[in-house]
Symmetry: none
Subunit: 192 residues, 4 copies
């Protein structure tokens, strides 16, 4: 019995150790291994895109988020993992707006929303209502992440609102402050 | 009967004569004479503030609006009236944002709202719902009038919104374009 | 006869001298005197907006353009004119994007198009086809003026295109180089 | 009759067996065996380049596309095939922009266009109108594939357009988003 218990303990420890999904950094994205856990990332939580191979392709933003949550480990070579700081540095080089977009992505995800790219709509992100998954219903908001110190012209502001209006979504402006906190303003064009 | 007619004619002539309320320019505001018509400006349409003397004190913006509507005549000296252009020039010197603020005031008034200063709320104007007069209910919006060519940091944008939020009003941004037309965006702080 | 001729010559010289329309700088715009020449600016060439007084209100961009063309003189006080450099400095302070927008405005005007604000459409400018005046037909393009050294995110690019698409206008990007020359690219979203 | 049937059966089996063309990975490209099927890839569908030997040389992108379509098998050694994921990883190491370029190539091919490298034009790809093969007519577009998170200066944007203009082709910008979907914008330099 003691032996059996020990075996179970070893197995459990091994499972815990391997609880993190392996993912490989590939130039400008991150691709997971094929596993039930990886599939769950996509099926349950709607991270990334499922490739034909069954692997999940994550954006750099999604990858950092899952790394910080302890869900994945990102490998730069076969045996060498990225440290978070190192990964952020890499990502910032590849995507100049990485950090401001990441802050908003993280905050929205932490609040329980699914957030995906909105390039096709002419915006940064689209956000689904709580409990809604992409495909089940339309996104509720499009989000523009900005730094609080950056400048806004009224022409740009008008443009962002028009994009939201033309896609029948609400406009959410996510302003990231010096402490990486995000405040949100919902804006809409009205004729009083 | 003839007497009655005559009386009516006299009354009408008096009305016509007194159709324009006399108002005097006093350094940085405009004060009306004491008359029923002047009182009506305040009681009915909520222009200005009633002074203890019974005169109505108008802001420069209100005064220009009423002058352009043909309701008042503004005197710079005992016998000399301001021409509109002259008054605008004077007002612009006294208040650097006079024109952009006036464009928004005029547009909102023309749309049938009562609009008053919101200095004590830390904002430009407060606007009451159609049919609502100050005192009857809270203002619905505070308005921030800006010129399309000007810019803002998101930090400043957040500040304007905070003012609105703390006074439990909605923020309306009124952007005046080069053709003096005003476009409006309603913004509100949300915690998604 | 000689006397008559002399008189005529003096009159003509005076006319030429006064050929320039007087305009006053008022905080953030420029307003012309009332004259046939000023009215022509608006009626014929569609500069500015006509005020109720008959004066023409010009944007800072329009004012500089007309000053450089020798059509107007801009006064900062009753007797003191702006020098072009001085006016540009003032305008840049009031409108941080003044210069890049001015370069595009000037270039488009020089090419024979009428160009007006497009704030209502969510863009900087709208441009009418040659020979078309505002009101006669819809604008053909909306224009975004940018500096060649500034950076473009694809989300912003997608947004600008969507604004144009939703307003049924073509998108023209006007890129201003170090020598203030402007190059244009017409862009549209397609499904190949 | 039986003979005829048998012959047909043998032919069919042969076809099925040879359905997948063998191709070998050679440092940075892939070269097919000599076969009618391989030749068809080039003659009919215009994949790759025909070598003097009669073999077809494929780019890494073409090779992955044909592997995913089940047309070819890629061998890393005499007997060992690449798995798709393995091949992608290899290709990404060799070509940093492999994935974004592959996404655009695949999308354009799937839409029924022939797409070839445009290295000699100073661009990524050239694309022929539907039904047009290289040699029959000029390419219609050159395509610039980019990832949505990347940025560009307008100077670089102008450069891409100049390349297209100087080769008398239109520029198509293909922006790959986090879901591997591609959006297209057609741009052209104009002198308004």
């Amino acid at each position: 019995m003691a032996k059996k218990k020990k075996k179970a303990a070893i197995k459990k420890a091994a499972e815990e150790k391997s609880a993190k999904i392996r993912a490989d950094f590939l130039t400008d994205r991150v691709v997971t291994e094929i596993s039930d856990e990886a599939r769950e990332l996509f099926n349950q939580s709607r991270y990334g895109t499922q490739l034909d191979s069954g692997k999940i392709q994550l954006s750099l933003i999604e990858a950092l988020y899952l790394m910080e949550k302890g869900k994945i480990e990102i490998y730069k070579t076969k045996n060498k993992q990225f440290k978070p700081e190192e990964f952020i540095k890499k990502a910032k080089k590849l995507e100049p707006n990485f950090w401001v977009r990441y802050c908003v992505f993280r905050d929205i995800r932490n609040r329980g929303y699914i957030i995906k790219t909105a390039l096709k709509f002419g915006a940064d992100f689209r956000v689904y209502d709580r409990g809604i998954k992409p495909g089940e219903d339309h996104a509720r908001w499009i989000i523009y992440p900005v730094y609080e110190g950056s400048t806004l012209t009224w022409h740009e502001f008008a443009g962002k609102n028009r994009v939201a209006h033309s896609t029948r979504k609400r406009l959410l402006i996510g302003v990231v402050d010096d402490e990486n906190d995000v405040s949100y303003w919902e804006c809409r064009w009205i004729r009083p």
